[in-house]
């Protein structure tokens, strides 16, 4: 594949992540009380709600900024990969608490079943890995090469 095509794919994937993160963070903030109340029902993160209600949307916005700035894009992709992996693991873990499964995702994501949600997240994990694997080498970012 030509370098140009690879670069375009990485750009498209980054834009998808930016849309996802900004949308997710915005819908959480627009219904913050609801988000906080729902998150606090979670059997896994309930006790840490106070921090997580801020950490998750801020992390989403922070990663969007990293993805926008060309110099930081690689870090953004690694961060997105990690966050989506963590979300996917969370979904697998929470479905193990069988009958009691609260949901705290905003907007359209709220209407997905847990299996669809997991599939959705795994697609984004794969997208992030693709972007990381095919991205053209950059001179100014060699830490992870």
């Amino acid at each position: 594949m030509k370098e140009k095509a690879k670069k375009n794919i990485v750009e498209v994937i980054s834009i998808l992540f930016i849309i996802l993160f900004v949308y997710a963070a915005a819908s959480k903030w627009m219904a913050f009380d609801k988000f906080q109340a729902q998150l606090s029902q979670s059997p896994i993160i309930g006790p840490f709600t106070r921090w997580i209600v801020w950490i998750v949307p801020l992390a989403e916005l922070f990663l969007s900024i990293l993805l926008i700035v060309p110099k930081w894009q690689v870090m953004g992709l690694y961060g997105s990969f990690s966050l989506m992996t963590a979300f996917s693991t969370y979904i697998i873990a929470i479905t193990q608490f069988s009958e009691y499964i609260p949901c705290s995702c905003g907007g359209i994501l709220e209407h997905m079943s847990w299996n669809i949600h997991l599939l959705f997240n795994l697609c984004f994990v794969i997208l992030a890995s693709i972007a990381i694997l095919i991205r053209p080498a950059q001179n100014h970012f060699t830490l992870l090469e």
């Binding site: 029902q41 963590a86 193990q96």
Partner: protein, 351 residues
């Protein structure tokens, strides 16, 4: 370069998974409890399975020989199950005002020979007597809105409803004719908000004439006589004597929810032959953490004084949770998914 990049993903991958797993195991550990269960052997034997074709059935009541099933989707259909013959029989009943059936939440209760269709949000009660298949709304008086209904005799029934003055739910005994309502304030004890904190299940044992109310979110149950005089308050084997949750409102106070991780301590109540059977939502110290994903754990208490007797497991079937269960003499019937599972029950004698 590609393999180096693949390798570079590994630490991110494992750290992300690790973080969530730490949270998971931490919370699973705090879900264990400081009590132990006693398990006699061979309580359930001879599993027999009947396919009901639909998963919307629930147990509506029983007579000496028959279990009655209602269906959430088609409330005007009654299903009879005879354990002795493993026989299913369906029949349809009729309301004198059939347009009311469109209301979503009709629940069937059978207290043979009487049977009832009730809808608490709209305060509707229809009743009839087998073998008559025509139900009548036979109370010449408007009922309060109610959240639970329990038939106790041919002349009266019990309701759980919300009392706005006291800001809590209460139990009332209602006589048909002449209409009379006796509201009892001291059976349910408010701890937080009077709605979620007092939420639970109720049942009446026609053999011993005792009424039992058990809370979902604390370890207490209350046993009364048929006139709702408290005989005693008992506790289940765990130590959750106060509800642990807080409630919060959003959407300009239009929606109120429980806002802390809270699974019910007590999930189902079944009364039978001097025993109070409680399906528990808690894992004991002498059990594996994953036990609740494979079985319904049932703790048995003595009806006369509420002491803990023993526990047993009702297995899930085909990966489906036990949705409901009931006991008829030496038979235990459970509903899992669209299956009805029928066991021979070998209850240990009271010691």
């Amino acid at each position: 370069m590609l393999s180096r990049r693949i390798k570079s993903l590994f630490p991110f991958f494992f750290i992300s998974i690790g973080l969530i797993l730490i949270l998971y195991y931490w919370s699973a550990k705090t879900n264990k409890n400081e009590f132990r269960r006693l398990f006699p052997s061979h309580v359930l034997l001879d599993e027999k399975v009947t396919d009901l074709a639909y998963n919307s059935y629930y147990i509506a009541g029983k007579t000496k020989k028959t279990i009655y099933l209602g269906n959430y989707v088609t409330p005007d259909y009654i299903t009879e199950f005879l354990p002795s013959a493993a026989l299913l029989k369906h029949f349809r009943v009729h309301l004198n005002s059939p347009e009311k059936l469109k209301s979503a939440g009709f629940i069937l209760s059978v207290d043979s020979p009487m049977y009832f269709l009730t809808e608490g949000n709209e305060a509707l009660l229809f009743r009839s007597e087998f073998p008559d298949l025509q139900l009548e709304s036979s109370i010449g008086h408007s009922l309060p809105h109610f959240s639970l209904f329990c038939p106790i005799s041919s002349t009266s029934f019990l309701l759980r409803s919300y009392n706005p003055q006291k800001a809590t739910t209460t139990i009332s005994k209602i006589y048909y004719s002449p209409y009379k309502k006796i509201e009892i304030l001291n059976i349910l004890q408010k701890q937080v908000d009077g709605i979620f904190c007092t939420d639970g299940m109720m049942g009446y044992d026609p053999v011993s004439h005792k009424f039992v109310y058990i809370y979902y979110y604390r370890n207490q149950f209350t046993v009364t006589d048929s006139d709702l005089h408290i005989i005693y308050r008992g506790t289940t084997i765990d130590s959750n004597s106060t509800v642990k949750f807080t409630v919060s409102s959003f959407d300009q106070h239009k929606t109120t929810i429980i806002s802390s991780p809270q699974r019910p301590i007590n999930k189902r109540l079944v009364l039978d032959h001097g025993n109070i059977l409680v399906q528990s939502g808690l894992v004991a110290k002498n059990e594996n953490a994953g036990i609740l994903n494979r079985y319904a754990v049932v703790d048995v208490y003595a009806m006369n004084d509420g002491h803990y007797r023993f526990s047993f497991y009702i297995p899930n079937y085909n990966g489906e949770q036990v949705r409901d269960f009931s006991i008829l003499n030496d038979d235990l019937i459970s509903l899992c998914g669209h299956f009805l599972i029928h066991y021979h029950l070998n209850m240990p004698d009271p010691n």
